[in-house]
């Protein structure tokens, strides 16, 4: 049965504190999922069950909500994340070639993580950095006016060594 609780650890205590601060209100679901993902890196079944119980929500609503929003991941992400913005401004400035370059280098498609767990590649639907298109977000930091060469060089650092 997947109903077993997640092991009680420090992260769970932090999550519970956030839930208490939100008075266990059902409308806090998205905020709580954000916190859970920040703490655990992704949303696995035990965490989702814990959230459902704490907010007194039907599990299918928690799962339905978690899978509706693109920023929630139910699978672990890689050690490093590369988000290529595919907003319109980036698109006309050749962002697709960036995606293709990364995909070719590490042999994964957007939404996937390399087999060694080093790199996750995702695409974003506009991060609002249109003035410096094309933009990518590498491990949470936005970079503008990025070329395919610069990007693959950085990814090679990630995949080999350091």
């Amino acid at each position: 049965m997947p109903v077993t609780a997640a092991p009680v650890d420090k992260r769970l205590k932090i999550l519970d504190a956030v839930i208490r601060r939100q008075h266990s209100r059902p409308d806090a679901l998205i905020a709580v999922l954000h916190k859970a993902q920040e703490l655990y890196g992704f949303l696995d079944a035990p965490v989702l069950w814990h959230v459902a119980r704490a907010l007194r929500l039907p599990p299918s609503r928690v799962y339905g909500t978690a899978t509706f929003y693109h920023l929630f991941s139910l699978k672990p992400l890689g050690e490093h994340t590369c988000v290529v913005c595919l907003g319109t401004a980036c698109f006309v400035k050749g962002a697709q070639t960036l995606v293709d370059a990364v995909a070719e280098l590490v042999a994964i498609r957007p939404g996937q993580t390399t087999a060694d767990g080093k790199v996750s590649l995702t695409v974003a639907r506009c991060i609002g950095a249109c003035g410096i298109a094309p933009a990518v977000v590498l491990d949470g930091t936005t970079h503008g006016h990025v070329s395919a060469g610069q990007l693959t060089a950085r990814l090679e650092e990630w995949t080999h060594g350091s």
């Binding site: 209100r25 059902p26 409308d27 806090a28 679901l29 998205i30 905020a31 999922l33 954000h34 609503r61 339905g64 909500t65 509706f68 929003y69 693109h70 920023l71 929630f72 595919l86 907003g87 319109t88 401004a89 980036c90 698109f91 006309v92 400035k93 974003a124 639907r125 506009c126 991060i127 609002g128 950095a129 249109c130 003035g131 410096i132 298109a133 933009a135 930091t141 936005t142 970079h143 503008g144 006016h145």
Partner: protein, 546 residues
């Protein structure tokens, strides 16, 4: 906090101002190019040169010219520098006393700056968005104070008289929306600020939230007073962490100063604001989907009526306006509706911010009076294309909008004119395209976006966008025939006319508008039919102009 306190803060701020300021943009765009390091080096350089008593290096909001970032400006001499690196810090400081800056100078008198009329972005690039005192010194919260001395219905009347229309895309008259919520029986009502700016290629709202968070709060508070609400929510997409951070800072500061919370300006008016963070769903920009998301649910839209004004958040009357709309409010109440209504055209009043991007020389944010032509924005403010090639089209309105061909660039920017040429004002994305951009591919790009962002609730949008994407792919890959093109147009009609919400209803717009103006590009991709086709028997017309 009373009015005297407000003035005291403003005076204190002005008295503490140094004789010169070095203003470094710390908004998201320039931050991505290293502006935080530039700022700290500027501060160090000021100290190192012993100028601390008369020069201040401050982080400010976005001055607009994002393509030249990081941008640093000096005040009061009005010099501006672009592509500044930390190593330029000493030079810029020495330039204040006549030395050579070393950094690339930006002409502050070029049309990009002089042709703008900045009302919403009045303080952007000039004050520190993280300090409430700076906003107050610039006249902030004065509008709220004046509003609280008057009756709520007078405020609604002012907003109506100003002619302001929603800046989120549809252009619904703001005063009318306020009046509807205000007229609902007293009881729990809500104000929601829609900061889920999802149109790819648009970042006006992000910058307003980052550069002028207090202005947004002030606008919301004025609205709350006018309609009788005591609780507000700002729904911000998670992709905008700096906006969230600055709004949170602003809320804390405003509460501490007594400008939010109970007894605002020592009146019975009470207003609390909470931030709700999205999680990556374009459809949540649609107001009923946004309400569902604020309630912690899947962001699926529901049919209207009832409109949120009657039954919105938790089935209570709810006013939803977008960020730019709320940020326009304080100036209207400060300067009066007649002042605002004098700007713009007969049906579209005031100014509008656009994020000008794509193949344009000066990419960034521009705020211009309604009625300005697309040509002025693209060629004068934008400086044409970066490499001097001809402009082919301008995309406005994002995935719900259309591509305006170069031949129609003299169209004035107002809600009706843009609609008449098959595009929309939208939230303000303006993407310049040149010959390298193939219109069927652009249409496919937007359709992929819509299929990916469809919530999946109604059939025409959920499946129709996928089929449309398939047809556009077939076309782009030169496998389609005339028959497929007819099917494409027919499906566009279906999705437009039968989808449940605005996302689906407008999803075909990029296809229809490019078919209208760039039909040749589609025709050129068609393959001959191998066999004659039976006569088409569909009742759906094959027109591309609605």
């Amino acid at each position: 906090m009373d009015h005297d306190d407000l003035q005291r803060i403003a005076e204190g701020e002005r008295a503490a101002a140094k004789s010169a300021e070095i203003r470094c943009c710390t908004s998201s765009g320039c931050r991505a190019s290293g502006s935080k390091e530039v700022l700290s080096r500027l501060k160090a350089a000021v100290e190192a040169n012993g100028l601390g008593d008369r020069v201040a290096a401050v982080g400010v909001g976005c001055p607009g010219l994002c393509s030249a970032g990081p941008v640093v400006q000096t005040h009061p001499d009005g010099a501006a520098f672009g592509k500044v690196t930390a190593d330029h810090a000493d030079g810029i400081v020495s330039a204040l006393s006549g030395g050579s800056a070393g950094a690339v100078r930006i002409d502050p008198h070029q049309p990009f700056f002089t042709k703008q009329l900045r009302i919403v972005r009045a303080t952007a690039g000039q004050i520190d968005p993280e300090r409430i005192e700076a906003y107050i010194a610039a006249g902030g919260y004065e509008g709220l104070y004046r509003v609280l001395q008057r009756r709520p219905d007078e405020i609604v009347a002012d907003v109506t008289a100003s002619g302001l229309r929603g800046r989120g895309g549809a252009g619904y008259p703001t005063g009318l929306k306020w009046a509807t919520v205000a007229k609902m029986p007293p009881g729990q009502k809500y104000v929601i600020c829609n900061g889920d700016e999802g149109d790819p290629g648009a970042f006006m709202d992000r910058s307003v939230m980052e550069d002028a968070p207090h202005q947004v709060l002030e606008g919301m508070a004025i609205a709350a007073y006018a309609i009788g609400a005591n609780q507000g929510y700002i729904y911000v997409r998670a992709e905008y962490p700096l906006a969230i951070e600055r709004l949170q800072t602003a809320i804390t500061q405003a509460r501490k100063a007594g400008l939010l919370g109970r007894g605002v300006f020592q009146t019975p008016f009470e207003f609390e604001v909470e931030i709700r963070i999205g999680a990556g769903a374009f459809v949540c920009g649609e107001e009923t989907a946004l309400i569902a998301s604020v309630q912690g649910l899947r962001g699926t839209p529901r049919p209207r009526p009832p409109y949120p004004a009657e039954s919105g958040l938790w089935d209570r009357p709810t006013l939803i306006n977008n960020v730019e709309t709320f940020a326009t409010i304080p100036a209207i109440l400060r300067n009066g509706p007649a002042w605002f209504a004098a700007i713009g055209t007969a049906t579209s009043k005031g100014t509008k911010i656009f994020s000008l991007t794509g193949k344009v020389k000066n990419a960034g944010l521009v705020e211009v009076p309604m009625g300005t032509t697309l040509r002025e924005v693209v060629e004068q403010l934008g400086g044409g294309t970066a490499d001097g090639k001809a402009v082919k089209a301008v995309q406005t309105g994002g995935p719900s909008g259309g591509c305006v061909p170069a031949s129609l660039l003299d169209t004035p920017i107002d809600y009706e004119s843009l609609a008449s040429i098959g595009s929309i004002m939208g939230s303000g994305g303006m993407i310049v395209m040149d010959d390298a951009d193939r219109m069927p591919e652009v249409a496919r790009f937007f359709m992929e976006f819509c299929a990916d962002e469809s919530c999946g609730k109604c059939v025409p949008c959920r499946v129709g966008t996928v089929q449309l994407h398939g047809l556009l792919t077939k076309l782009v890959e030169k496998r389609a025939t005339r028959h497929d093109l007819d099917t494409l147009i027919e499906l566009c009609h279906l999705v437009r006319d039968t989808s449940l919400c605005g996302l689906g209803q407008s999803a075909p717009n990029p296809v229809l508008s490019t078919l209208r103006y760039f039909a040749g590009e589609y025709e050129a991709l068609l393959q001959p039919e191998e066999f004659a086709r039976p006569t088409r028997r569909s009742a759906v017309p094959l027109t591309v102009i609605s």
